[in-house]
């Protein structure tokens, strides 16, 4: 991993189109600004990981999954 030391207000450029700027540092909290083309998705890592995990769990649906769920929806719901 490339490690760089930056001060508040300094930036890092990644490739031609992505700039990461350290906006503010307070204690152990760092605010970071990211400028990237719209085609580049930027997410908090933990959110992205959680989404990937949820997608992977959802993808194991077998062929009858939709039919099973439809049938359950047609049954009156327990109140």
């Amino acid at each position: 991993m490339l490690v760089l030391t930056r001060r508040s207000g300094d930036s890092i450029r990644i490739g031609d189109e992505i700039t990461v700027t350290v906006l503010d540092i307070r204690g152990d909290v760092v605010r970071v600004g990211i400028q990237a083309p719209r085609s580049v998705a930027v997410h908090r890592d933990e959110v992205y990981r959680e989404l990937r995990k949820a997608n992977e769990e959802a993808a194991v649906a077998d062929e009858s999954a939709a039919a099973v769920l439809s049938a359950a929806l047609r049954r009156p719901r327990p109140s």
Partner: protein
């Protein structure tokens, strides 16, 4: 629901006469193209949306490349009537559409051990343009659950 959905009996198959192999009949269905991969599935960009009948709110999103990869998806309205995700300009741009009415929102369902345990992902809906047939999975900035019980 829309022009994107192919209605056919579940389990419908075609036999490829050259190989004599039976595969799910997805080749002739309208293909949805994901402009960015669904997180976790970078190899799969093209899907088809299949429904068993017009009045069934449960759909299956099947990978063209590998039909064993499939997601159960539902429109939010029957299950979460108050759900109104804010779709930004950036998403419209990715989908090459300008008309919000053109958008179809679908939620990915994770099947539990029983149907009662099924959950829907409200944080990251699939947004599809019905005119351009492009789609993206949008991670909303709102505070929404990634696993919301479907039969609540």
């Amino acid at each position: 629901m829309s022009v994107l959905v192919a209605t056919r009996p579940r389990g419908g198959t075609v036999t490829d006469s050259t190989t004599d192999r039976t595969t799910p009949a997805i080749g002739d269905l309208p293909t949805i193209e994901f402009r960015a991969p669904i997180p976790g599935f970078p190899e799969h960009r093209e899907f088809v949306l299949v429904s068993s009948s017009d009045d069934d709110p449960v759909y299956t999103l099947v990978s063209v490349r590998q039909p064993v990869l499939r997601f159960v998806v539902v429109p939010p309205a029957p299950f979460f009537p108050d759900y109104a995700p804010e779709i930004g300009e950036q998403v419209l741009e990715q989908l090459a559409t300008t008309d919000p009415a053109d958008l179809l929102v679908l939620l990915i369902v994770t099947m539990g051990d029983t149907p009662a345990g099924a959950t829907a992902n409200l944080l990251a809906p699939l947004v599809v343009s019905q005119s351009t047939r492009r789609a993206v999975q949008v991670i909303l900035t709102e505070d929404l659950p990634i696993r919301a019980p479907l039969l609540h």
